[in-house]
Symmetry: C2
Subunit: 218 residues, 2 copies
Amino acid sequence: MEASLSTLVLPWPFSFQPRDFSLPNSSWGSDMRRLYEHYNSQCEVETDDGEKKWGVWRRLPSYNRSLKYATGGVYLSKIIQSKARLFTRNIREQGAGFEYVVFVNKQEQKCVCVFQAGHLLEGPPGHVHGGAIATMIDTVTGTHATYLSGPVMTANLNINYRSPISLGSTVLLTCSLDKKEGRKTFVSCQVTNTDSSKLHTEATGLFLSITMGHLLGG
Amino acid sequence: MEASLSTLVLPWPFSFQPRDFSLPNSSWGSDMRRLYEHYNSQCEVETDDGEKKWGVWRRLPSYNRSLKYATGGVYLSKIIQSKARLFTRNIREQGAGFEYVVFVNKQEQKCVCVFQAGHLLEGPPGHVHGGAIATMIDTVTGTHATYLSGPVMTANLNINYRSPISLGSTVLLTCSLDKKEGRKTFVSCQVTNTDSSKLHTEATGLFLSITMGHLLGG
């Protein structure tokens, strides 16, 4: 089982604010910016009195560090601990790796991720690696399961690759809750082009609720 | 569908030899080196006459570039084309990302991959990201399917995560052929600790045989 990240990834506890990777940067293309604006504009709405309140969507921030724990009785080396970075945020150059932002909609128990695939994610010539797509699916379904059920670990991912994704393009990942049964949360996910007219990949994820003890070797 | 890489990844056509990433480097720990030696020593055997001949195992070389094709009618930008790198070989710093080497055994229709997970592959605190594990599974099952059936694309990956993998550790991926049916090749894969006593992850992969026309948009 792999623990999902959203609730576990906490700001690195230094005195300055950590970088939020889910905010726009100069590498974002027009599709990425447009979709970001579409969902971001629905995160805050203005009432008739001109006051602002939360909308139906929430943008989730995204950092490249997590708090470190000793695990399974094995203490990681101090060097690995200090250098560790979140897999999806490990490349310094903007636009080269995973550019993405996740929005959740609690009311509809739905979440979307806008993902722009950089040139370092190549698999087949000119296309995104199947493992990079699986990585985004794990990230977004896991984030959604965590949002709905609290801390979870991935128990199963079942991924059907329908049509390759061109390197450099922007796609949409849409996740919804299938069901909850005791410790289990079932989420499904579709990866489509930006207007949802073409299905690239579809997947289901099964997540198990955990306590921090699971990662501490309990 | 995602095309697998082994037959498509060709040396970059410059005058010098491209770097083979599957050879030992100074970042490899003792487990990685020991397992490399174990399989590598069976790649060439000495006959009674003192002559050398191929053994049962073959080490597959691994590069970070592939030839570029225009795909699906969409020509990639020249910048993306020139900067594109294989996802699993996109990090310059040795030992920081995916360190791995694949050996195939044609006789037994089996393949193994020795994989050392670097500090930039973090998911849950202190552990390897589920997407990084999926990436190695896609890479190794796809390589095996290609070795057995020629060029293929990944149609399905079904992954069960049993037990988290500590960041920095070395694991073994073992793949075997389940069956071939027309264009379909079914491969299964286990991810275990180095002495195979602990199962971390198990998966099945379904691959479809393709011609280059599939990637060229045919």
